[in-house]
Structure formats: C-alpha cells, structure tokens
Amino acid sequence: MDALINQLPTGLAIGAVLLLAALGLNFTFGQMGVINMAHGELIMIGAYTAYVLHAWIGLNPAYSLLIALPVAFTITGTLGWLLELSVIRHFYGRPLDTLLLTFGIGMILQQGARDTFGAPNVDVPAPAWLTGGITLTGGIRIHYSRLFILALAIACVIAIAYHLNRSRHGRQMRAVIHNRDLAAISGINTRKVDATTFFIGSGLAGIAGVALTLIGPTGPTLGTNYIVDAFLVVVVGGLGQLRGTVLAAFTLGILNATVEAWADASLAKLIVFAAIIAFLQARPQGLFTVKTRALT
C-alpha cells in the first residue's frame, strides 16, 4: 500500500504522458486503421523542439516551456500531416505495409536526430516556477512538474472533448470513424478529414514530447520507450473512446510505476503485459464501446 501511495504521483504523470501519446494514436488508428510506428519519433521531435528553443535559440527557461508546447504541436502536426499526404495515404487498407513503412520512417527520423543532436541524451531544464513541490500529509511528495504534466493532459482531454463534440471537424471525425462510406455519401470529404485528424493526432505527440522533457532526459530513442505502452492504452481503452483512453492511460501509468517499485523494470513489464492479456481475454473490445441496440 505504501508503495502504491508513494508511486502515485509518478504513476499519474507517466499516465498523463501516455494519455497524450495515446490520444493521437487512437485518432489515427481508430479513424484510418493506420498503425503509425513513427508516432514515437514525433514524440521525440516534440521533446527536441523544447530543447532547441532553450539551448539553440536561447529562450528564457521561465517561458520557453510554454512556447515549446504550441511550437511542438505545429511542427509535429505538420510532419504527421506531410507523412499522411506523401506516404500513408497510398497504403490505406494495407496495415502490414503501413506498419513496416512507418517503422522505417521512424528509424530515419531517429538517425536524423542522432546526426543533429548527437547520440547522448540532452537535458531541458525545467522553469524555476516548476521546481520544488508540495508535501502531503503522510510524507508523499508531489513535484510541481508532475502536477503541470497532469494539468496539461487534462487540458488536452478537455480541448479534444470539446473539439469532437462541438466543432465541425470533430463531428465529421466521429462520423468517419463510425462509417466511412456513410460519411462519404453524406457529403463529407473523408480524405480531408483524415488529413486534419493526422495533423491533430501528430500534434498531440509533440505535446507529449515536451511534457517528457520534464520527467527525464531527451534522446533519439525517447519515443520507442513509450510507443508500445501507448498502443496498449489504445487497445485497452477501446477505439475512438475518450473515456476509455483516459482510464487506461492512468491505470497503466500507475501500474507501471507501482510494480516497478518492488520488482525490477523488465519483470514489471512482464507483469503488466500479463495483466493486459488477461484483461483483453475478458474484454477484447476494450473498456468502452459504442452502445448499440444490437449488442444489448
């Protein structure tokens, strides 16, 4: 129990990053059935964006983080959009080809990062207003940076919920996810919706990357550490399901952090994988699915 309580803040922060990574994946996977293996590298590029703004452009650390968020969103969003337009679009309905192709693109992006920034990890200092933390009764210490990541993830979820339910593109997205043919004969340009979805989903990867600079060092393989977990969140949470993704991300984050507190990292992974396989045996459709009368 102690382990759980002590690891709770870290677990929540990791869960929040997983959530940001998985939200984007859920869109591209849920809407287009595309397994974008380069999504992890978009996270990495988001993290390096924060680094470049601080170390190369020399922005004041006090506000460099806040500027990095929209800049990373735009950069990785544009990259994802270009990726969809130039490559992925031509491989819809061929999941294995897409998987290998985006895996290759991910490798190229990693090498590009290695050539540009060097193989060793770099650090992005947190702004002064995020150092320190609060100590709760019972001796649990919560870093402000962890709280910031949590708040960032919550803000993104609210923004996405608003987008999905209130905006024109959001409604079209939900229509395309549900039934692409019906969307097309309803006058929706599904190709255009796909491109916009890829932009938003990839942009969220950039935000996840910026958040990760607050948790640890940044390196070319940063994304690969999170991509598998992010996919697990998508599968467990259910496709196109915001609630499920949120719940799955935090559960996985906390599970990872607590199991790691009393087992070593690889054993922890094994235990978490086993738990997920057991869960998917019981509920292959994920936590939540769309209610239909046919199912009830």
Partner: protein
C-alpha cells in the same frame, strides 16, 4: 434536339467486388420527377447498383450520367453535393452521434441550403423531434429508418436513392415512410427506390425495373404491370 435530358442515365454498366462480377451491362433511364422502382430477389445486385450510382463502388465498364453530366468517376461526396442523396439499406445512421448531429453533420458537409432544410426534414418526420438529443445507436429500427431518410433529405437532393426503406418495419411506420416518399416526389424530386414489397412498390412506382442475377429482365411503366404479372417476374 428538344428531347428532355433524363435525370439519371446508366449505360452498359458492369460492376462487382474484386473478381466477383455482380452486375452485367445495366441500362437504366430515370426521367425527372418520377419514381423508379428496382425490384428483384435477394442477392441479385440491387444494392450493388445503388452503390455504383452513388459512387461507393467504381464500375468496371459503363457510364453514369446525372443531369447530362458524366459522373462515372466522381467521388461519392461530390455526387451528394451535386444532389444525389442516398439512404442505404439497413437504416444506416451515425450511431455514436445524436439525431440532431446526424442531420447537422450531413447538412453542413453538403452545403446545399440553409437551416430550413433541417426544419423541413423534421417536419416530414415529426417522430424524430423529441429524439433530437438521443444517440442514433439507441433508436428503434423504424426511428432509425426515418432518420436515415431525413439525413438524406437535409442535403436538398434532386435525386433521392432509397434502398429498401420499409425492410423489417411495422405497418404504421411503413405508411409514414410511403407518405414521405410520395410527398418528396410531389416536390419534383426524382426517386430511385429499391423495394421488395410488391404492394408498396406498385403503389409508388412510375416505372418498374426487375433485376435477376445481375441483369435487367424487365423494365417499363408501372401501368404495364398487373399484380399477377409483377409477381410472376419476381418469381423467376
């Protein structure tokens, strides 16, 4: 010179799924403002024909002309935007969206008129009015079919394509749907209807086309058919 252009003209159309050929050399002409009814037994290719006309399937040969324009290779959303509305078989709706969202997303995407189109569609199907904020997934079959037709009507179509709108629906709702089809036709909208119930088809149709095994085996004005001769055609 002065022969009016047909509203829809299909010439030498063949289509299928991958290697499986389903439709062979289909010719179909629909005059403006008429109700054309396509009939035939299960699996003969009626839905495939409608899917090809609305652009969901690309034909292997043949042409489709709408109001004099060749639309054979036009994307489905462009066909909807030029006035071809489609309510597919099985009262398909956007299940996770509310009734209101189903209508709005279609209305906004097609951009063929103002909000009065939504009011008109709801006036046409008043049963949908109290359900506006309910998810389409939770509608009954009859309600979903009404939403499916309303969703097609908010695109302000010149051609309304309906695939078995009365399939599996209780008699009093069938009567309402029939009335909606008659009213829509009375507004001058051309209708292409696939209908399995002989009674309904013969009440509504101006022309009747019968398909068997992917080929047209009969086409002509409704007046040429008696209940018995139609029944005989369907039993082939």
């Amino acid at each position: 010179m002065n022969t009016p252009t047909p509203h829809l003209s299909v010439r030498g159309l063949s289509a299928g799924y991958g290697r499986a050929r389903v439709l062979f050399d289909i010719d179909l002409t629909i005059e403006p403002g008429t109700i054309a009814c396509v009939m035939g037994r299960n699996g003969v290719g009626k839905t495939t024909l409608l899917n090809t006309i609305t652009g969901l399937i690309t034909p292997t040969t043949g042409t489709i002309t709408h109001n004099g324009t060749d639309i054979t290779h036009l994307a489905p959303h462009h066909r909807t935007r030029r006035g071809i509305a489609y309510a597919p078989q099985g009262h398909d709706t956007f299940a996770p969206l509310t009734v209101a969202e189903n209508l709005h997303v279609t209305h906004q995407a097609t951009r063929r008129g103002g909000p009065e189109l939504i009011d008109a569609a709801l006036a046409r199907f008043p049963r949908l009015q109290p359900l506006l904020h309910r998810k389409a997934a939770l509608l009954s079959g009859g309600q979903a079919q009404q939403l499916a037709i309303a969703r097609a009507l908010v695109t302000n179509p010149s051609l309304l394509v309906l695939d078995e709108p009365t399939e599996g629906i209780q008699p009093n709702i069938v009567a309402e749907i029939e009335a909606a089809i008659t009213d829509t036709a009375a507004q001058g909208i051309t209708i292409l209807l696939v209908e399995q119930y002989l009674d309904v088809a013969l009440r509504l149709a101006d022309t009747v086309t019968v398909i068997d095994a992917g080929r047209i085996i009969h086409t002509g004005p409704r007046t040429e058919l008696t209940h018995e001769s139609a029944h005989a055609l369907m039993a082939i």
